[in-house]
Symmetry: C2
Subunit: 334 residues, 2 copies
């Protein structure tokens, strides 16, 4: 194995900038409706967690960030595709503080833009053939990314089933967010490590890391959905209430609550209450049952587990920065 | 190169059956909502043109159908994904004589099912790693399939632009259907040939074949949209009129028509007329201007061009059957 992180100047922010620059130009070369939509969705970019995870994973196993950069850009495309489609499904008009793609361009066009960005995820992966990544690694990464993409869809569909069935079940919830959120983190870390020539043990360690990190991240997302304002999040803070989402705080409130709280929760989630009131009612129930604090504790547990998984990698600056991500997943405001 | 078509027993119908069998079991192993939707969309299957094209292309360059079968199954998954999303966009309630996926399971769930089947296209491709296809070919096929998928989305989005702008422009139309329809035929033929180890010249010949065939196919589809009943097509025969689609017959009617016909066509397509009347009005205009006959002639032209492209391949039963596809694209009822 090469020495870890061959380009120490590529610190966290530097990696993000490299990916951001590529994203800025990727869909800006033609003036078609599709390019306009994809560019609108990708730029200005979000936190770029998934590309950074992919790049750091590659460096953490001794690879070069430049070689896997197209795959990192692809990882963001795939993520943004899921945001575009999610916003249609949830009827969310705001994303990153601006109108969502379907709100601006119509639902039909937004479906096509999301599809294009899924294909672009794989196009990015294929571009690694021309940055020096051997075909055998590209093919192995394809397998991992396709599997994680299918998991993402399984998770989204499972969420719909859990919400419709009002199943306040912690295990089902944890499975659902592993598929819906953590699988894409896993896809980023696994493909980064595979493309960079990591050993099966290293790929496995980064896979475990990503699943724990993604779980912590989604739990924190659930919490922020209740504690943040719409302005702070850049998206509608009543979306989870409006869509009757079975988030971790809600599930914990149900577990911790007595009969009256459970009845009220069911009413709030099935839309028997008027929307504005519904959100307030849920917030009050979360407060009364200590559900937010309990959810926070679980997020910390998974963040810690992500750090533990990393110990099976050789020490490196990238490993240290990946460990920092566990903190970031919990400490972020949005 | 190996001798062409090593398994002569795999005639057209036999190949379709092999792919059909795989499609029947692919999404039937679990009882989740996602599996239910994907299975519903895939089974009973349609004409399986794309998987058959992929398999025959592999055989036509001396490869084995078995080795590329997972990719062929993936090609159908990708195609069905686009049908699911198209039906949402066009508001079509019928597909293959049954309720469309969004009509049966809701638009949000159908978006996720379509996404899953796009990922499954790539999962199928990756499965070829385990049927004996070298990784270098899988990686090269990935590149071709991702590019064709992006073209598909470009074509769908371009169609929306042309229709919104009422651009009765033949060149734009031909570019649009090359992207929207022919690119996926191209993806099937190219990836089949690449996975089977075809030479660059063979891949190129099959690519040209597929583009001409796909163009003929879409033109015939346009024609059938006016000449067939809803029952014959298994989908709503007023969909193109209702959605103001700029099909080839409509574009030719506009070119061949005088001022009154052009005015009426614009009115019919912009929805100034009531729906039932709109469809009748367009049919009458197509009849008056001889547009359907002219469109048919163009379909034949492209079908013939597809046959010519095949002459650059070595003779084989698969090449003969691919040539037959040109006829099928034109002669089919739906």
């Amino acid at each position: 194995m090469q020495s870890a992180d061959p380009r120490p100047e590529l610190v966290l922010a530097g990696l993000a900038e490299a990916a951001e620059e590529k994203l800025r130009t990727r869909w800006s070369r033609t003036s078609s409706l599709l390019s306009t939509m994809c560019h609108y969705a990708l730029v200005p970019s979000g936190k770029l967690f998934r590309p950074i995870l992919l790049l750091e994973s590659a460096c953490a196993v001794g690879g070069s960030a430049e070689m896997v950069l197209p795959a990192a850009v692809g990882a963001e495309c795939g993520h943004v595709a899921s945001l575009i489609h999610d916003d249609i499904i949830d009827g969310d008009e705001l994303r990153r503080g601006r109108r969502s793609v379907h709100s601006r361009f119509g639902a039909g066009n937004a479906i096509v833009a999301g599809d294009a960005l899924i294909f672009d995820l794989f196009a990015g992966l294929a571009e690694c053939r021309w940055t020096g990544v051997p075909d055998s690694r590209v093919a192995a990464a394809l397998e991992a990314v396709a599997r994680c993409g299918l998991d993402l869809c399984r998770g989204q569909s499972m969420e719909e089933e859990l919400c419709r069935g009002l199943r306040f079940d912690l295990d089902s919830y944890l499975t659902m967010i592993r598929l819906k959120t953590a699988a894409f983190f896993q896809g980023a870390c696994e493909s980064g490590a595979i493309l960079a020539g990591g050993t099966p043990e290293e790929v496995e360690a980064l896979s475990r890391y990503a699943l724990a990190l993604g779980t912590a991240f989604q739990i924190q997302d659930d919490i922020l959905g209740y504690t943040n304002t719409t302005e702070e999040m850049g998206k509608d803070n009543t979306s989870d209430s409006r869509n009757g989402r079975l988030t971790l705080p809600v599930i914990l409130a149900y577990r911790n609550g007595g009969h009256p709280e459970r009845r009220l929760l069911r009413q709030a989630l099935t839309g028997e209450e008027e929307l504005g009131h519904r959100h307030e009612l849920i917030l009050d129930l979360l407060d009364r049952t200590g559900a937010l604090a309990a959810a926070s504790k679980m997020a910390w547990h998974y963040a810690e587990a992500s750090g533990t998984a990393l110990l099976r990698l050789p020490p490196s600056p990238s490993r240290d920065r990946l460990a920092l991500f566990g903190q970031l997943a919990i400490d972020r405001d949005r």
